[in-house]
């Protein structure tokens, strides 16, 4: 019924998208800005974008997502948004009193060519308050690009090299992941006994605890002092090349902090790499606590590997996450036959193909794709499992394939944003989810005589 996708693949001439696997820059910028302590994201454009971005984030995180808007009207679009922005700055600090206001543009303000730095020069910013900005034209890149741009904006505006020698501390840019993942990454670094600054850090902001009070600015987020201090760190680790590299490089240029880009630590290999990188620079050994976790994870993978061997899987979502997931399922002996992201960028295809090749596999791999095409691939070569965000449910239903929900956005399930997929613990959770999906399926399809208690 919901299946309108023909099997036959024809070249599409238009460049239009059917059932997109990405969305626009500002929402990524808004999410990144929420990761600054006491920061109000501000959308410089018309109200609609801001309302949509807030609703979407609200549905995913199930927490209040606040952001102000310049509330463009026709006049502003003709004469430029300078006046709106100045009024907005005045009002934002008067009404909501954040420490930081993080402005991002929308396609409208980008198209009319609003010059934000020039407006900021003329604006009255109250003493002690900070305004930063990022350009986020939505006709370029995707929400991941927006996240990356705002994170780089934090560096451009705030990072400072003020100490003679670099401090024994590491900057960690976690990328566009859930607060649960950020908490897990922090736990790993803490367990290593290393000082760190994570930015942006949305934990404690979009997964804030219930107190019976509404805190417009909850406890979480990277503080301005920490953001400034990133310029004094000994190393920056950017997790995920799409969401995090740009900020790390900007910091290297600006404050001479060496930058290292790693994969988002999904699965054994990527988590090992992350911990080894930390160890090589800062400490002599990995604590037993983490070794034990790794050992448990591998134990679980050994216990379950027979379930996974040769199972075909289709993965879609944000590039850094999809790359990590692909590596994880390869490690389980699964066969990723279709791998797609909506975010443009040729390095995605290169990286995924290389991983497949290493395992002696070939598959459909595409950046800047859409779910229509993804669905067509699946029709032509069916899979046992789909891993991706909520939008995969249409394909899962049409083709009767189990779906494991991972990534952004997940609009139809709760609790996910609290539960990590990164680190050894996160990998255990992924293995559990994938395994359960396949076994539930087997139970559901089993004839009475094949239905078993012990599996």
């Amino acid at each position: 019924m919901l299946d309108f996708t023909p099997k036959e693949i024809k070249e599409r001439a238009s460049g239009g998208l059917i059932n997109p696997a990405k969305t626009c820059q500002p929402i990524g910028a808004m999410y990144a800005a929420l990761g600054i302590h006491r920061c109000l994201p501000h959308s410089h454009g018309s109200q609609g974008c801001c309302a949509y971005h807030r609703s979407h984030l609200t549905r995913h995180f199930r927490d209040p997502i606040l952001a102000s808007t310049s509330s463009f009207t026709e006049g502003a679009s003709v004469f430029g948004g300078g006046a709106n922005l100045k009024t907005a700055i005045k009002n934002v600090f008067a009404i909501y009193n954040p420490d930081v206001m993080a402005i991002h543009t929308t396609c409208l303000t980008e198209t009319i060519g609003d010059d934000i730095p020039a407006f900021l020069n003329q604006a009255e910013i109250p003493e002690g308050k900070i305004v930063i900005h990022a350009n986020t034209p939505s006709y370029v890149g995707s929400h991941i690009t927006g996240f990356s741009n705002m994170t780089r904006g934090m560096v451009n505006y705030l990072s400072e090299a003020t100490t003679e020698t670099k401090k024994e501390q590491v900057n960690i840019i976690p990328g566009f992941v859930n607060p649960g993942d950020m908490r897990e990454i922090k736990r790993l670094v803490k367990a290593m006994g290393i000082n760190f600054i994570m930015f942006p850090d949305t934990s404690g902001v979009v997964d804030s605890p219930m107190t019976g009070k509404f805190e417009m600015f909850p406890k979480g987020g990277t503080t301005v002092e920490e953001l400034k201090d990133t310029g004094n760190s000994k190393l920056t680790i950017a997790l995920g090349s799409f969401a995090s590299t740009d900020a790390a490089i900007a910091l290297e240029r600006k404050c001479k902090v060496p930058a290292k880009t790693l994969k988002t630590p999904i699965g054994v290999k990527a988590t090992d790499e992350f911990l080894m990188t930390l160890r090589n620079t800062f400490v002599t050994e990995i604590p037993y606590e983490l070794e034990e976790e790794r050992g448990q994870l591998v134990d679980i993978m050994v216990d379950t590997h027979h379930q996974f061997h040769g199972k075909k899987v289709a993965i879609f979502g944000d590039p850094d996450i999809v790359i990590g997931l692909t590596e994880l399922v390869l490690g389980l002996g699964m066969v990723p036959v279709h791998v797609l992201t909506g975010t443009p960028g040729s390095s995605f295809e290169k990286e995924v193909r290389a991983m497949l090749l290493e395992s002696g596999l070939k598959g459909n791999v595409k950046a800047a794709g859409d779910l229509f095409e993804f669905h067509q691939w699946i029709k032509n070569e069916p899979v046992d499992l789909i891993i991706g965000n909520t939008y995969g449910k249409y394909i899962a239903r049409a083709e009767d394939i189990p779906l494991v929900r991972v990534g952004f956005p997940i609009l139809d399930r709760s609790v996910h944003s609290y539960m990590p997929i990164v680190g050894y613990k996160g990998a255990m959770r992924l293995v559990e989810m994938i395994s359960n999906a396949l076994l539930d399926r087997q139970d559901r399809d089993a004839a009475d005589e094949d239905f078993e208690l012990v599996m």
Partner: protein, 445 residues
């Protein structure tokens, strides 16, 4: 957070019954720098048109506008599910520089080739208004080329607020209706039902009531409607308008063009549902219809009254806050809460009109706060000040209420149970009960 009301400009948009004059400032632009809960023109147009099930809804713009509106509406269909896909021209930088008309034309060709639709709506987003694409011309050429209807929707986000989007949608619908050649058969008990989007099957419930009264619903605007049904709209002898905010404008246009009279109705709550069914019956001035209407009302009320009474016992004395899209819905909700023994202590809307605010003012008790285009800090402040136990709102209001330890009801797209008609009145009571009296609140603090 107590930010008070730090900006004076907002003062005219807020009133307390008994203390101030009846009128508040509404239907104006939001103030820059506020955390407004409002949406845009495109959003208004999209929500109204999206339930047309067999149309291609093609969003001309960068990807976001299409992504965020992909199947979030919750309107059900008895036929095609084509409307639940997301189509976008995904404008890129070079399109913004050189114009997006060619890409749009190609996208329409592509989609028509794939899906063979009879109807395509092409939505303009902000950027299209700025780069100046001639939507009208592209649509016209595509319509001729494919011999189908391709209707532009002038919904650039910045040209107004959500209400302007409703009008843009009505203009698009009117174009569709007006291009048909159907003849009106006088005085058949056949009506168009305007302003129900069939969320959680609500339009079907009302359709059944009317059917029981001997009245045929010709077409619903736009819940579960399709190309063929919409074309027959001029055949109706009466238009009933549920969501006046979105559809009053179309009703007027149809009256002027086809001479179809219209009346406002509301199917929220027992009182409004009964009144509306009686009003419709009275219009046809037909004894049989009137008899059937009374029988239906009697039967339904007898069925649900004990249920409602049960909930009322548990809810009596609770206080509610309301913040919804349109004024009409707010009015119905106030009455509906009265039926449950609940006082509304704060009531606001995103797009309420002056007349609606006057009705609201008359309905509520002394001391109730009435406000237009509220922001979260105002909502918080008044809910706490007035001691509300419950908030009715949409997706962005839910976590706000929860964080304050207040119960919440979704009266927007994310609702899962029909809230219309007699059935809806029971569902509503049950939802209020299940959230207000949930054990989870005990763990707070």
């Amino acid at each position: 957070m107590d930010t008070g009301l730090a900006i004076r400009e907002r003062l005219d948009s807020i009133a307390v019954k008994g203390k101030q004059k009846k009128q508040i400032k509404c239907d104006t632009d939001s103030i820059a720098g506020c955390v407004s809960q409002r949406a845009c023109v495109y959003c208004g147009a999209r929500v109204v048109l999206n339930p047309v099930t067999d149309a291609i809804h093609l969003v001309h713009g960068p990807i976001g506008c299409a992504s965020y509106t992909w199947d979030i509406r919750g309107s059900l269909s008895s036929g095609s599910e084509l409307y639940r896909n997301s189509f976008s021209t995904d404008l890129q930088e070079e399109d913004v520089i050189f114009g997006g008309e060619k890409k749009l034309a190609r996208a329409i060709d592509d989609l028509v080739g794939k899906y063979k639709p009879r109807l395509v709506f092409v939505y303009a987003t902000c950027i299209v208004g700025v780069i100046g694409d001639d939507l009208e011309a592209v649509c016209k050429a595509a319509a001729q080329k494919h011999n189908i209807e391709v209707i532009p929707v002038e919904s650039s986000g910045f040209i107004g607020n959500k209400a302007a989007g409703y009008r843009a949608a009505c203009d698009a619908l009117f174009r569709l209706i007006n291009s048909g050649e159907t003849e009106k058969k006088k005085n058949d008990p056949k009506i168009n039902y305007l302003g129900d989007f069939n969320l959680a099957a609500e339009a079907w419930i009302i359709k059944n009531y009317l059917y029981e009264m001997g009245i045929e619903v010709n077409v619903t605007f736009t819940g579960d409607s399709d190309y063929m049904a919409l074309k027959k709209a001029p055949e109706a002898s009466l238009n009933i308008v549920q969501c006046a905010g979105s559809m009053h404008y179309l009703a007027r246009k149809m009256k002027d063009r086809f001479g179809i009279p219209f009346m406002n109705v509301s199917f929220l709550g027992i009182e409004d549902t009964s009144d509306s069914l009686r009003k419709i019956a009275a219009f046809f001035n037909n004894d049989e219809i009137t008899r059937r209407a009374e029988a239906l009302i009697d039967k339904e009320i007898r069925r649900i009254e004990p249920l409602i009474r049960g909930y009322r016992k548990k809810l009596q004395g609770k206080k509610a806050a309301v913040y919804v899209g349109g004024g009409f819905k707010a009015i119905s909700l106030i009455k509906q809460f009265k039926e449950l023994g609940i006082d509304v202590v704060m009531v606001g809307t995103q797009t309420g009109r002056r007349e609606e605010y006057e009705v609201i003012h008359d309905l509520v008790n002394e001391g109730t706060v009435v406000l237009d285009d509220a922001n979260p800090s105002e909502l918080e402040r008044f809910m706490l000040e007035k001691g509300a136990h419950l908030l009715v709102g949409g997706v962005k209001e839910r976590p706000l209420a929860y964080k304050l330890g207040l119960a919440f009801i979704d009266h927007n797209h994310d609702r899962k149970h029909p809230l219309s008609g007699f059935v809806g009145a029971v569902n509503f009571a049950e939802e209020v009960y299940s959230t207000v009296c949930s054990p989870v609140w005990r763990f707070i603090g």
